[in-house]
């Protein structure tokens, strides 16, 4: 304890530039993980502001707060930001921080590649936001891309997108894509080659398994996206005609390229969320995870089936009845392993002694919300129903239920759960619960009621709408929910900051948890473990704490 304080004061007496320089040049997986996460939080604020502008514009019909041009930029930037510069860096940040610690390693397999990947991703975010200043090039004052986050051809062709806004969007995704592939290779190598003695594949924490499958999906999904971006650059600058429909190119090919990335991407984001739930629910229920081998199998199944469902984003483009039928079946099939996961978490809680600290509150809300998100997903897998609901607000509500109600809730749980480990401080439980309830209320006001205008015929991506269609009241409620969500986010930020500066000392293991990271100091030293650990079961700290009844007897 005293040595820790000494180090801290020692650190803070050194000049700021020197300390910043250490962060910029670091190859330590923990620091890079924190950089990813802080970077994502900045973009979360930007993406949130963009969403708020959209919701204020849609608060009533024929509102004139922003022009159509500005609104179209807002939804393009919101989608691109939230997926590529919030969700992805959060996922990679936590994977970076946690995977080496949980497998008893001292760093990632390729520390320099790790730093390179982070800075490539960071560069991508800068490209995207530079478009506000450089987007119009020599044409005018500057603008962000307005082609939508899936940038359907031929809207991205030179004819329809003059200036450079689309080019910045392309560069941004190419750059962050290189970073993502680098990190994915790093995570896979780390997991396969750097596990501590005794940790066979079957004894890895579920979080590690889920991140292994996630990283595999990143390589398979981000590569075609990057290829498509290069093809788009060829179209725009080298006279190619891949997607240029005016010269015989194909708009449909772009859709296939985008969604063979876009749908696995959902699993890239949701598997780490499942990973957090699979660590947090057992610890706060005080029970081992129920059905570990089935959980692993379900994860691998989701990875495989997830690669074959992409065209359910394309039911309305006029595919043959045979193709439609195939994608109905594959999409519905993925509900089975996902359902298995929900049941196993439920069984983990069953018969437990559940402690409702903030991480567990977020995880339990996640279970309910992910149930709804999965079931609305099944309704959208029904192709004929998708012909009605596709591209409507019902779809917008559905995927925000997945990404916010599922993924973001788990990420908040992870923030609170590992904050004591990363900072060495306890967060404020009162502020944590306030954050939870504000965000929970805001989430449900916004995204429950957003399903209705979709059923009543409201398409997405419209900057205004006609009165008299029965959409007004629902849009008003949806916008009111934003106030609560924003308040929740502010409480969250205040909690992180206040607890970092003033929080009580956490100690090594504040949750009485079972995985390796809780056996080292908080925050962990640069080398993670003074002696490389040796494990015999999936819960090495349970074995230590219950030497009379260790896990390895049952596994």
């Amino acid at each position: 304890m005293s040595t820790n304080t000494l180090t801290l004061s020692e650190l803070s007496t050194r000049p700021l530039t020197l300390r910043l320089h250490e962060w910029v040049t670091t190859v330590d997986h923990k620091r890079l993980g924190i950089l990813y996460i802080l970077y994502a939080l900045v973009f979360l604020a930007l993406g949130g502001i963009e969403a708020t502008i959209m919701r204020l514009q849609l608060i009533r019909p024929h509102n004139e707060l922003v022009s159509p041009q500005v609104f179209n930029r807002m939804f393009t930037m919101h989608g691109t930001t939230m997926i590529f510069f919030v969700a992805m860096p959060l996922v990679f940040g936590f994977a970076n921080y946690l995977v080496p610690l949980m497998i008893g390693a001292r760093d990632m397999a390729f520390p320099r590649l790790n730093a390179f990947s982070f800075w490539m991703s960071a560069l991508g975010g800068l490209f995207l936001y530079f478009s506000f200043f450089g987007g119009d090039g020599l044409y005018g004052a500057g603008s962000a891309p307005d082609v939508g986050w899936f940038a359907y051809a031929p809207l991205t062709a030179k004819t329809f997108s003059v200036g450079h806004s689309t080019d910045f969007w392309t560069l941004s995704l190419l750059s962050s894509g290189i970073g993502s592939i680098g990190t994915a290779i790093n995570i896979i190598t780390t997991i396969l080659c750097m596990r501590c003695p005794g940790m066979t594949l079957g004894k890895m924490p579920l979080l590690v398994w889920l991140n292994l499958v996630m990283a595999g999906l990143v390589i398979l999904a981000v590569s075609p996206l990057s290829a498509a971006q290069i093809m788009l650059v060829v179209d725009r600058y080298l006279g190619g005609h891949f997607f240029d429909t005016q010269a015989g190119g194909s708009a449909v090919i772009w859709m296939h390229f985008f969604w063979i990335f876009g749908h696995p991407e959902v699993y890239v984001l949701v598997l780490p969320a499942f990973a957090f739930a699979s660590e947090i629910i057992p610890v706060f229920s005080r029970k081992a995870i129920f059905g570990y081998p089935v959980m692993v199998l379900a994860t691998v199944a989701i990875g495989f089936i997830g690669m074959s469902v992409w065209a359910h984003h394309m039911f309305t483009i006029g595919m043959s009845a045979g193709a439609n039928t195939f994608f109905v079946l594959s999409t519905m099939a993925i509900a089975v392993p996902t359902g298995i996961k929900i049941f196993n978490w439920l069984a983990t809680m069953w018969g437990g002694r559940i402690r409702y600290a903030t991480p567990m509150l977020f995880c339990v809300a996640f279970l309910f919300q992910f149930l709804v998100a999965g079931l609305t997903g099944v309704t959208l897998a029904v192709a004929p129903l998708n012909w009605q609901l596709g591209n409507s607000y019902y779809v917008v509500a559905h995927f925000h239920y997945v990404i916010v109600g599922g993924i973001l809730f788990c990420i908040f749980a992870a923030f609170y759960y590992w904050f004591p480990k990363a900072s060495g401080k306890l967060y404020s439980e009162a502020l944590g619960k306030l954050h939870f309830w504000l965000f929970f209320i805001g989430f449900h006001l916004t995204f429950d009621f957003m399903h209705v205008p979709g059923i009543l015929g409201m398409p997405r991506r419209i900057y205004t709408y006609e009165p008299g269609r029965g959409w007004d009241i629902w849009n008003l409620i949806v916008t009111i929910g934003v106030v609560f969500q924003a308040a929740g986010i502010l409480v969250f930020a205040a909690n992180l900051l206040w607890s970092y500066l003033r929080g009580k000392t956490a100690g090594n293991d504040p949750w009485d948890a079972w995985t390796l990271e809780w056996s080292t100091s908080s925050p962990p030293p640069v080398y993670n473990y003074a002696a490389v650990p040796n494990v015999r079961s999936r819960r090495p700290l349970w074995d230590l704490k219950h030497s009379e009844d260790p896990d390895w007897r049952y596994e």
């Binding site: 041009q69 939508g148 043959s320 039928t325 279970l367 709804v372 029904v382 192709a383 129903l385």
Partner: protein, 314 residues
């Protein structure tokens, strides 16, 4: 009652989707109730109560029987949903194409709809007229969907699901409305700045009314040699607009031969009144900022004359 609700179908494709959606919604609602109850029960019943000692509960690692049960039951539900879905896909996509069907070629433009009736020799815009279809003697309308520029999507929820209009990728859909009346919808695939005001209006008419409409639309305009027509034909208007029977043969904008037979302007964005028409010619951005119709920069007398001329196009 929303005029665009998917739960108020009046055409066979929309009705079969509605029937299927009820089956699907009841099924997922049942799953929701069961799983929600189990989750809520576990979350409340097994919470750590005050006065509990600090000992750990019994550790259970799994159960093959239970895992099998919650794998097999969802598989069976998926099979049922899949079969029901496939039936409706085939019924809609492989429907017979009777020879008496009305044929319409729909072309999506940034931000308006062009309708051509090749068998009837009619070209019009933004307001689609189709005959009502008596189930005993069906007269469905088959739409061939094309795009002149970016992707669009044709969605009138009470008549059927949406189908995209994609350049170089012709699509087909059909409707057979069982009721007369006006049915609303709008473009459902983001197509550019004014995607929001690319509205759809489908007028379903009795066979007699449809006959009369067809007859009117088949007439050419009569040259008037009015001052307004001279302005119209000497300004850039004719580069984009057609008025059949006159030198105006532009193809980029909507055909104006029977402009006054339409209730709305700017793809349904505003009512078609002389004042609004004049404003639309003077400054389209006041009505639909970002539309492809340019402000013509006419002086007031010319503006009045052109408006007066357009009002003769019935």
């Amino acid at each position: 009652m929303s005029p665009t609700s998917i739960f108020a179908p009046v055409s066979t494709p929309a009705q079969s989707i509605f029937g299927l959606s009820i089956f699907v919604l009841v099924t997922v609602a049942a799953i929701f109730v069961v799983v929600f109850s189990l989750l809520a029960y576990a979350a409340v019943k097994y919470r750590n109560k005050q006065g509990d000692d600090s000992s750990e509960p019994a550790q259970v690692y799994g159960s093959t029987q239970v895992e099998l049960a919650w794998t097999v039951i969802p598989v069976l539900i998926v099979v049922a949903l899949f079969l029901a879905t496939t039936r409706v896909i085939l019924a809609i996509q492989n429907a017979p194409h009777p020879s008496g069907a009305v044929e319409v070629i729909v072309t999506g433009h940034q931000y308006w709809w062009e309708y051509r009736y090749p068998k009837l020799n009619i070209v019009t815009a933004n307001e689609l007229h189709v005959p009502v279809s008596d189930p005993a003697h069906p007269t469905p309308t088959f739409l061939t969907l094309l795009s002149a520029d970016t992707d669009h999507s044709f969605w009138v929820p009470r008549l059927g699901g949406k189908t995209d209009l994609i350049p170089n990728h012709p699509n087909q859909m059909w409707i057979d409305p069982h009721e007369t009346g006006l049915f609303l919808g709008q473009c459902a695939q983001y197509c550019g700045t004014q995607h929001a005001k690319m509205l759809l209006r489908v007028y379903v008419q009795s066979p007699e009314d449809f006959e009369r409409w067809v007859h009117e639309q088949q007439q050419s305009a009569q040259p008037t040699s009015s001052a307004g027509e001279r302005v119209f034909e000497s300004a850039a208007c004719v580069n984009c607009h057609t008025v059949s029977g006159t030198p105006a043969v532009g193809k980029f904008g909507p055909d104006l031969t029977h402009l006054m037979s339409r209730e709305t302007l700017a793809s349904g964005a505003v009512k078609n009144t002389p004042e609004i028409l004049r404003l639309w010619i003077k400054n389209p951005d006041a009505i639909k900022p970002g539309s492809k119709m340019p402000a013509m920069g006419l002086n007031d007398p010319d503006l009045d004359a052109v408006t007066a001329y357009l009002e003769t196009l019935r």
